[in-house]
Symmetry: C2
Subunit: 250 residues, 2 copies
Amino acid sequence: MSHKIYIVGMGPGKEEMMTGEALCALERSDVIVGYTVYLDLLQERFREKELLSTPMRQEKERCILCFQEAEKGKQVALVCSGDAGIYGMASLMYEIGKDYPETELQVIAGITAASSGAAVLGAPVNHDFCVISLSDLLVPWEKIEKRLKAAADGGFVIVLYNPSSHKRKDYLQKACDILLETIEEERACGYVENIGRDGTKAETCTLKELRDRQVNMFTTVFIGNADSEIINGKLITKRGYDVNNRRLSK
Amino acid sequence: MSHKIYIVGMGPGKEEMMTGEALCALERSDVIVGYTVYLDLLQERFREKELLSTPMRQEKERCILCFQEAEKGKQVALVCSGDAGIYGMASLMYEIGKDYPETELQVIAGITAASSGAAVLGAPVNHDFCVISLSDLLVPWEKIEKRLKAAADGGFVIVLYNPSSHKRKDYLQKACDILLETIEEERACGYVENIGRDGTKAETCTLKELRDRQVNMFTTVFIGNADSEIINGKLITKRGYDVNNRRLSK
């Protein structure tokens, strides 16, 4: 018998920010597997489901758990915050899935923080952009540094995920120092904490100011490009339309 | 009196791929403004709403129309495909909004093609990535070329939006030639056409093969990084977990 596992991106947290397709996959499932923090967000709505978790860092075990439950004949959904394919569990599921050739995988996209955070700040990502995670758990820091330099050279809007954690308190500062080698101090930036959850907080600032801001693991950071500016407290990256004679066309 | 305009990302097309928040904003609106192709997708569900459009390229006029309708006291939603903040109308709305200080803007995030296309292909974007549009309507080609080079230098996964159009038939070829200066011919790539609509088509190939593929304006292109591979027809970018002894942990 063949099985199917849904790998579901649940977006930033609130149910309203999930897609209909994601909700439908969870409704259809018997078992929902995920990191405890995400399961807590789903608990009320999906109280009749079996909710299974493995501790933080045990991502491989969490994936294997999904395949094992599916082999029992249960419909399984694995949930990830944001998009399941962007720093989520989708690729690890495909890698481990080599051992479970009878199990089909279906990824269901979710709203990633580059989109949901941008919506809070205004329109900071309205042009070519890079997303870089500052977490060096799975990547050497030198590689992250190289990408920061390349992103600055390319004139991209830059979105930073995982800008800080208990063990990496100065990583945003280190990243800003690298960017400041290429980008001017006054570059328009912003950051959002707890997107789509209680206590959402958005701030705009310059790149120089950003360097010394305290952020945490629930913060997403946005560094504008040369066409970004702060308009009425919102971080806006202009796309290049000529808006000077905008009143004339009325 | 103050007004509010919703700027809504409708995702790739299917209603199931919209968020609850986006659907709710459209339900609450009297007037839905958008490019005709997107309005057509909404017509059936929102037939009781006033649907307004301006021709392609008249983005500025479309934004002004939103503010004018809002000033009449109507609740207005502007719809964009994908995410409203990623190559969407959000930043132009904020720019033009300088003339309408009484009108508040609220961006509602949607699933962008980097997420929805990735879900079809497997997990190609599962690490740091760049999104680059090959459209040179608003940007000089030299800038696009510079970004392609920087993205290749940084070792990013690269997602290309607008890889082709009637007037830009050879742009993907030009882009691949630039990438091939840095990236090996055998690099794992993929592309998806008509994501979330009728006739969704996904293909995987090497970068060398990609150069000569025919794509259109409804195609999103994914170029893997050095850790990407094609597993059972899916394009997967590995995150760096050690999966060699995966059976042992069972």
